[in-house]
Amino acid sequence: MTEAQITEKVIALVTPYVKNRAALANVTRDTTFLADLGINSARLVDIVLAFEDEFGIEVSDDAADSIATVGDAVDLIGKLVP
């Protein structure tokens, strides 16, 4: 799976939880889930679990804690996808 494909899926999975819809239109690798997209921290857990289901991966608690930006998520998923 290419980075672009992963990014596209990540954005699709995140979209229902985004409060700042304007930021969604200009997402980059550096876009942060909490500050930029306005996602609350509890929903970030839901998003990580959605990544697990969508990509068939298992994200450890420590790895989940390290996800702050879209780029972090894409890189982590890229490493974990079979």
């Binding site: 909490l34 857990v45 679990l49 697990e52 608690d61």
Partner: protein, 261 residues
């Protein structure tokens, strides 16, 4: 994450805070009770039964305990503590008086509030905190739990703006604590003003409080974040059911509602 990463200095600081809050209770306890009874003329429905039940539950579950409540006002923690136990009970059984987890942004803006929170046995938490700060706060919580204390936590992670338990958009903090301290008991509490009720900064004077408490043993075959979500959802579901029971009893007339204050 356990309390293993907590430095000796931090562990010592928590033990000193616990000791000072206990000593301070001799002064702050009567002051809070005077404010509760005289300034606001608050009272509680079935007070003796509630306190007896809490004493019995605490005796049956003497170890770490998470007290999980719905959240409607800024002073829920104080009212809950006053309703659950007498000053004498807390002086005799310090572990019965729970630690609290206030949002730092709301309560740590002045030294007077900081002192109040310190003596009120609080561990500040920050929404959206950095990983290091969140880990530190979590380690402090784990430490006090593993020493057999109780922590009062609001599983919704916020106050219920519409006055009802939010079972859709809630925090997973309870589940994360249970992942860290699996032996912790879970005491679910439903607290609500019977005369006015609902969302408010402070309950109006003359309010009479209803408090129901039930132990819960949440289970999940999953692990990690998924387990935290499962456990948190079960706690929220129980508190929501307790809320439904309250309104059903009120509507059926089986719960004697107070008259005007």
């Amino acid at each position: 994450m356990s309390d293993a990463g907590l430095r000796l200095r931090s562990r010592l600081a928590l033990r000193i805070q616990r000791l000072l809050s206990y000593a301070g209770l001799i002064v702050s306890g009567p002051v809070l009770l005077a404010i509760y009874h005289l300034r606001f003329r608050y009272s509680a429905h079935g007070l003796r039964e509630v306190r007896a039940r809490y004493r019995a539950l605490r005796a049956a579950h003497p170890g770490p305990l998470l007290i999980c409540s719905n959240h409607l006002t800024l002073v829920d923690s104080i009212i809950q503590a006053i309703v659950l136990g007498s000053l004498w009970t807390y002086l005799r059984h310090p572990a019965a008086l729970p630690w609290n987890l206030p949002e730092a942004k709301n309560y740590y803006h002045s030294w007077s509030w900081r002192l109040t929170c310190y003596l009120g046995r609080c561990i500040p938490v920050e929404r959206g905190a950095s990983r290091e700060r969140a880990t530190f706060a979590q380690a402090r919580m784990n430490y006090v739990l593993e020493r057999g204390d109780a922590i009062a936590i609001f599983p919704e992670g916020k106050r219920s703006r519409d006055g009802r338990v939010d079972d859709r958009d809630f925090s997973y903090g309870v589940g994360q604590l249970l992942n860290q301290v699996p032996g912790a008991g879970v005491l679910c509490i439903y607290l609500r003003g019977m005369r006015f009720g609902g969302f408010a900064d402070f309950p109006p004077a003359g309010e009479r409080f209803y408090l129901q408490l039930e132990m819960l043993a949440p289970q999940s075959a999953s692990h990690g974040l998924r387990r935290a979500r499962d456990l948190s959802a079960q706690v929220i579901a129980r508190i929501r059911k307790m809320e439904a029971d309250y309104f059903a009893a009120r509507d059926a007339g089986t719960l004697a509602m107070p008259g005007p204050p």
